[in-house]
């Protein structure tokens, strides 16, 4: 079946602009994650959604970052007033919450964000 998809694949923006990144999880996966991968650093957890529960926002680096998940499916990560240090690859992952692979997170291809 189809994997996790993300759009756009690349985004170039000017400092101070707002950006929205989109994630479509694997159909039927109720858990959804956002991570950030900066050059030379490991993947950094940002936020986690599980069903109708309140999201775990503990990884968001500042209040300029926010995310929502509509209808338990598509998620949007919004970065307001972008800064150059926000430049990174933003990865989305989804996970089934039942069965033998309930712990495995499956990643999308990422959105490469460049802030000029």
């Amino acid at each position: 079946g189809a994997g996790v998809s993300q759009s756009p694949s690349n985004k170039v923006t000017e400092k101070g602009k707002d950006v929205e990144l989109r994630c479509d999880p694997i159909s039927g996966h109720t858990a959804l994650y956002w991570y950030r991968q900066s050059l030379g650093q490991g993947l950094e957890f940002l936020i986690y959604f599980q069903g109708n529960s309140a999201p775990d926002k503990s990884g968001l680096p500042s209040d300029r970052f926010s995310a929502e998940r509509t209808g338990g499916s598509v998620s949007t990560l919004t970065i307001q007033r972008t800064q150059q240090e926000d430049s990174a690859v933003y990865l989305c992952a989804s996970r089934s919450t039942w069965g033998l692979v309930a712990d495995t997170q499956y990643f999308g291809p990422g959105t490469r964000l460049t802030v000029l």
Binding site: V4, Y33, Y35, G40, Q41, G42, L43, E44, F45, Y48, Q50, D56, G59, L91, A93, V101, D103, T104, Q105, Y106, F107, G108, P109, G110
Partner: protein, 114 residues
């Protein structure tokens, strides 16, 4: 604080030259250890999950093993198409159960020369 350290940072092998990648971890309690492969410009691709010390899993030329402090990814007779960055991640447990996130290492960049 949960932490994952991978070594070496980069590894160059000749085709057919077997080797191992290391992932050392520190967690309060281990829920699972995950290995991913990442090709340039792509998202991580799942390889293995290990849950307890002594567990081993294999897939083609790759075998992952786990102890209480570290995991190894053994690559037997590698081919050029095995060239990628290999990422290790842990999911920890706390008093409330499994935590929500994976803690990743910075990866090992593997290059296999023909």
């Amino acid at each position: 604080e949960d932490q994952v350290t991978q070594s070496p940072e980069a590894l160059r092998l000749q085709e057919g030259e077997s080797s191992s990648l290391n992932c050392s971890y520190t967690v309060s309690g281990l829920r699972g250890l995950f290995w991913y492969r990442q090709d340039p410009g792509k998202g991580p691709e799942f390889l293995f999950t290990l849950y307890s010390a002594g567990e081993e899993k294999e897939k083609e030329r790759l075998k992952a093993t786990l102890t209480k402090k570290e995991s190894f990814l053994h690559i037997t007779a590698p081919k050029p198409e095995d060239s990628a960055t290999y990422l290790c991640a842990v999911q920890s447990m706390n008093y409330g159960g499994a935590t929500n996130k994976l803690i990743f290492g910075t990866g090992t960049l593997l290059a296999v020369q023909p």
